[in-house]
């Protein structure tokens, strides 16, 4: 073994044959042959939710800043500290700017892929994650839609497994039709194996 660091050396053990013949249902987008991006609406939906977050944050921070200002100005020995309140608008602006810039970057790195063996989800701008859920491990699924998501016609597809850290794997921001199609696809194809033997 010349260079045990390259994956080619492990090739002999990566030999499991997966059946790629996957009866594609007419009119369904599943299985996805390639890694698929989320719909573009994900970006404005995310921006709007972070805008709401900024408003809530500001609503909580401003009274605190006012109290701090009046307290600091009344006490001569810490009087200079009153300028600390300038951190409040700074924090709010930073959050607002990030809330605007981040979603497109985040969106650009999100992918999902679905085939007969299961679901794969990639995400993360700085810290990157790829999680795969074998279809035979999906205990049940769920489609959820918040008010913002409904406005943009989006939905979150949730897969529950028997796992611990990953007992709930979320695929956030699918078009709601896609989410239901995914549910149906996993339900039809995976039904036999995904349900534990009951007696």
């Amino acid at each position: 073994m010349a260079n045990p660091e390259s994956p080619e050396d492990f090739a002999p053990i990566f030999n499991t044959v997966i059946s790629q013949t996957d009866p594609k249902t007419e009119g369904s987008q599943f299985p996805t042959r390639k890694a698929t991006k989320l719909p573009k609406e994900w970006i404005p939906a995310k921006r709007m939710s972070s805008a709401i977050g900024v408003l809530v944050f500001a609503a909580m921070l401003i009274p605190v800043a006012v109290i701090f200002w009046s307290f600091a100005s009344d006490n001569a020995d810490v009087g200079a500290w009153k300028w600390g309140v300038l951190f409040a608008p700074l924090l709010i602006v930073t959050r607002a700017v990030l809330g605007w810039i981040w979603p497109p970057l985040d969106w650009a790195r999100r992918r999902y892929r679905v085939d007969a063996t299961g679901v794969e989800i990639k995400r993360g701008v700085l810290h990157r994650r790829v999680i795969t859920v074998p279809r035979t491990r999906i205990q049940h699924t769920e489609v959820t839609q918040g008010p913002l998501q409904r406005h943009f016609g989006l939905a979150t597809f949730v897969m529950h497994t028997a796992g611990s850290a990953s007992h709930e794997v979320r695929l956030d921001g699918l078009e709601s039709d896609t989410a239901y199609a995914l549910r149906d696809y996993l339900l039809n194809e995976g039904h036999e194996e995904s349900v534990p033997d009951e007696d």
């Binding site: 045990p4 795969t132 859920v133 074998p134 035979t136 491990r137 990953s166 794997v169 194996e193």
Partner: protein, 526 residues
């Protein structure tokens, strides 16, 4: 008053519903007393000023009353196919637990329990973390009645699954015996897998630090109480040792140093011996017996614990050994099940086999998970060399900052600690790299890691739930990525399955391969 009324009512349906053993009242109230009165008294006698804690003792009265109420409200009944419990005062809860769903019957008996022939009973199903029903306490005859119901039902069930098995065999799904209950009824063999001798117990005891925790607690209590324990030690203990000197102040610093370190070593030896005794009492009489498809364990000289683990419920197996254990060719074997995880009393917290000899590993694996036995084990795959380089760099730079910061705030003498930190850091980085490895065998993933304590985790592909690759911004600069394997047995720290800092392409290939192997196998709960 209320009690007598209920008791007469109970007699009419005595054939149906049963209560807990009457001694439950004594044990329940005793338990409350232990948690309220004893600390209260300790404070009373030791503390000089914080008397208010005495008032906390008053809480004992309502809690004792609550014990009585709970006792009166609890009933259970052994119906044909299920165990029914009724409990609660305001919220009446009626719980039906089918015998077929009961996985374990765990018993805990402390010496008082054994005097009156009762036991704390935990019934576990595959659901969740906590026991489905805890009956505290039942008479041993009551336990026997429940046992016979559950196990009679289980046998009937197993013979049924066997006929199902014949049908299943025609299906192409790969099913290992870890995942499906195979021919249990035919395999009624009883096989003692492990029995610990006194020598084993003493070996474990001398390696454990069981008494040190108790010592630390006592020390904490002393500090709390406001007793000047330094003075006390000086007056009582040191005077015993330096009997020969009239006055310690006349001793040279070397004599003093020698004396104090001798005292330290003496204390260490005493605590080690105490630990050994604690372990002998805790694990005394340990045995693990294989009954057909179930594992039954029991241990403890004072508080006796016993229970059953169905083999097929084991999610992850692991072996673990520290430096000294490895030197003597010993290891401990751990098993994680879905119901009982770390942090619970019973099987999760304690190892399945606290001590075994190296040659016993294979037979044990054969008995616990025959599919995982490999005829010709493949070598473990190492992590890339740059991982070691990264770890070394980390362990050289971090202490530098740490020591510099401390030296800035206190004395520059702290710098002397730097070579020591470097030595152990570098040694650990090198050894951890040498011990790290993973491999894919026919039926499962093996991950070995750690130093000085080396752990090998083994998980059948059929038990892998999800696989995740994570790569931080800094990992990317090193082209490294970590693989996280999740199972139903939880992120129990006792058997880590995480493969940190593999080559990024290897990590991704491994993720895909594990996914394919997991997807090809069925996951069955029970």
């Amino acid at each position: 008053m209320k009690g007598t009324k209920k008791a007469s009512q109970m007699k009419t349906d005595a054939d149906e519903f049963h209560r807990l053993h009457p001694s439950s009242l004594i044990f329940g109230i005793g338990g409350q007393a232990k948690s309220y009165i004893v600390p209260g008294l300790a404070v009373f006698f030791l503390a000089s000023d914080n008397r208010w804690e005495l008032f906390a003792m008053l809480l004992f009265l309502p809690s004792a009353a609550w014990v009585v109420v709970r006792f009166l409200s609890f009933r259970y009944r052994l119906a044909e196919f299920e165990l029914i419990t009724k409990s609660g005062i305001f919220n009446r809860v009626e719980r039906h637990i089918p015998y077929a769903r009961i996985q374990n019957i765990n018993l805990v008996q402390n010496p008082f329990h054994r005097m009156v022939r009762v036991a704390k009973v935990q019934l576990e199903t595959a659901s969740g973390e906590d026991p489905e029903a805890e009956m505290n306490v039942l008479g041993l005859d009551q336990v026997a009645a429940i046992r016979s119901r559950v196990f009679a039902h289980k046998q009937a069930q197993d013979s049924k699954t066997e006929s199902d098995q014949a049908q299943l065999a025609t299906e192409p799904v790969a099913a290992s015996s870890l995942t499906t209950p195979t021919s249990t009824s035919s395999d009624e063999s009883v096989d003692t897998l492990v029995k610990l001798s006194l020598g084993d117990l003493l070996f474990m005891g001398l390696l454990s630090n069981a008494a040190f925790a108790a010592f630390a607690a006592a020390f904490g209590l002393a500090a709390q109480s406001g007793v000047d324990y330094e003075q006390w030690i000086a007056d009582h203990v040191m005077s015993l040792i330096d009997h020969g000197w009239e006055d310690r102040s006349e001793m040279s610093p070397w004599q003093k140093g020698f004396l104090y370190s001798a005292f330290g070593i003496f204390g260490f030896i005493i605590l080690k011996l105490l630990s050994a005794i604690l372990i002998v009492f805790r694990y005394g009489g340990f045995q693990l017996v294989k009954h057909g498809d179930d594992l039954r364990f029991q241990f403890g000289l004072t508080t006796r614990r016993s229970g059953t683990i169905p083999r097929r419920r084991i999610q992850v197996l692991g072996r673990r050994a520290g430096l000294i254990q490895r030197y003597f060719g010993r290891f401990e074997l751990r098993a994680q099940t879905a119901g009982a995880n770390d942090g619970k009393e019973g099987i999760g917290r304690t190892p399945l086999v606290p001590l075994a000899k190296e040659p016993e590993f294979r037979p044990l694996l054969q008995a616990l998970a025959p599919d995982l036995v490999v005829e010709q084990p493949a070598p473990f795959k190492p992590a890339p060399k740059r991982r070691r380089r990264r770890q070394l760099r980390k362990r050289i730079i971090l202490p530098l900052f740490l020591v510099a910061a401390v030296a800035w705030w206190s004395t520059p003498w702290v710098m002397l600690a730097l070579p020591v930190l470097w030595f152990f850091g570098v040694l650990q980085a090198i050894m951890q790299h040498r011990n790290f490895g993973w491999k894919l065998e026919d039926a499962g993933l093996w991950v070995r890691q750690g130093w000085p304590r080396v752990t090998t985790g083994i998980v059948p592909y059929s038990r892998i739930q999800t696989i995740e690759v994570q790569q931080s911004y800094f990992d990317r600069r090193w082209r490294l990525a970590s693989v996280y394997v999740d199972t139903a047995a939880g992120g129990g720290a006792s058997i880590p399955l995480t493969m940190d800092e593999l080559d990024e392409r290897t990590a991704d290939a491994l993720r895909k391969e594990l996914h394919a192997r997991a997807a090809a196998e069925k996951f069955v709960w029970n």
